[in-house]
Symmetry: C2
Subunit: 218 residues, 2 copies
């Protein structure tokens, strides 16, 4: 199958298999629309799930943190590499069925399994930091002061290749049981909408600095 990730034992869901997708276009669009992921790793045998920022560049995602943070220290430790599961979820709507049982949400999620490695190449590190800023606010990396050597040294970036990847998507109306169709309950979807409020200038911002176009357009 061209332009799709190869399904593996752990990327084929046990339930709702029809919701799974592996094509690059779907996976990338879900990843590119978000900037916050939930990163899972194992520490002392127990699971840990950290919310963290990420960005995709090609067939790789990057995330970062202080060199003192736990997952980044663990990834850089003796045997390099940290087994992770990186999950991104968009909630698109609340699905109200006539039966409590068939309530659901419309969502698009991506799950990436793999090993995260520290980015050691200085060029890749700089690029990934730009991409991480631009994932949150497109265009912003070119309109802020780049990291200086001290800041670069204090920041660890991890990369995770997109190999073992799946998307899972639910869309559309509720699926009620045929015998419930006459029940007198309202049924349908309540769309969930994400938007931005008016930018709040920092208290110490000089009044002469205008709000940039990449913010007013959002």
């Amino acid at each position: 199958m061209p332009d799709a990730y190869e399904p593996t034992e752990r990327t084929v869901p046990t339930r709702s298999k029809e919701r799974a997708a592996y094509d690059h276009a779907m996976v990338h669009s879900i990843l590119d629309e978000a900037y916050l992921c939930h990163l899972g790793f194992v520490r002392d045998g127990a699971p840990v799930v950290l919310p963290t920022l990420y960005a995709r560049l090609g067939d790789r995602v990057y995330f970062h943190g202080s060199t003192g943070s736990r997952p980044l220290r663990m990834a850089g430790a003796a045997d390099p590499g940290l087994a992770v599961c990186l999950t991104v979820t968009h909630v698109d709507g609340l699905v109200l069925a006539r039966s409590a049982f068939h309530h659901s949400i419309n969502y698009r999620s991506v799950m990436i399994h793999g090993t995260a490695y520290p980015v050691t190449d200085p060029e890749e590190k700089r690029t990934s930091l730009d991409v991480l800023v631009d994932a949150v606010v497109p265009g912003r990396s070119q309109d802020s002061r780049p990291a200086n050597p001290r800041e670069l040294a204090a920041t660890a970036v991890l990369r995770l290749d997109l190999n073992e990847v799946s998307a899972k998507v639910r869309t559309g109306p509720p699926n009620d049981e045929p015998e419930d169709l006459e029940l007198p309950y309202w049924t349908g979807v309540l769309p969930v909408v994400k938007s931005y409020g008016a930018p709040i200038p920092a208290p110490d911002l000089a009044p002469s600095v205008a709000i940039p176009e990449y913010l007013t357009g959002r």
Copy 2:
């Protein structure tokens, strides 16, 4: 400390300790405002992070799924109980500093460590299913058909006690370096707003069924 969760080695962050909070009021308000969590567990030694619905009732959270789903099967297996980390995150704003390094997001998150157990008491199971529906749409459990015995049997509910719990919160403007304050870049916070669109009736909804008040008020 009354009305607060006791910090433990794994609920005290290695970084940004000033952002950590343990009081019940803060933790509960973050949990109660959301309905989607990211649930981490360990499978064959590797981390897995699943997006799933949850609800809080008192000092316990519930989540559920098909009895055939992986984590629910694992939790019910021979040695009952599944070690989990359940994380909930609200993104409140994008924090644009003058330096790329100090970019951040304003967020509120809760992380629960513990062991999830299947809910076996029929009364607790029914109540938890109501709470799970009402976490997504308050009031809905009383305005839909309750689960029948077949559906109850097909649904597994897990409970996780709130013992080892922490919140982490960032608010306010960017924190720029003193030497950056004169740089000509706009700086401040772009609020992230979550709202609902107009309800979309299911194609098979009878026109006589009005949109309920608990939806129009959102």
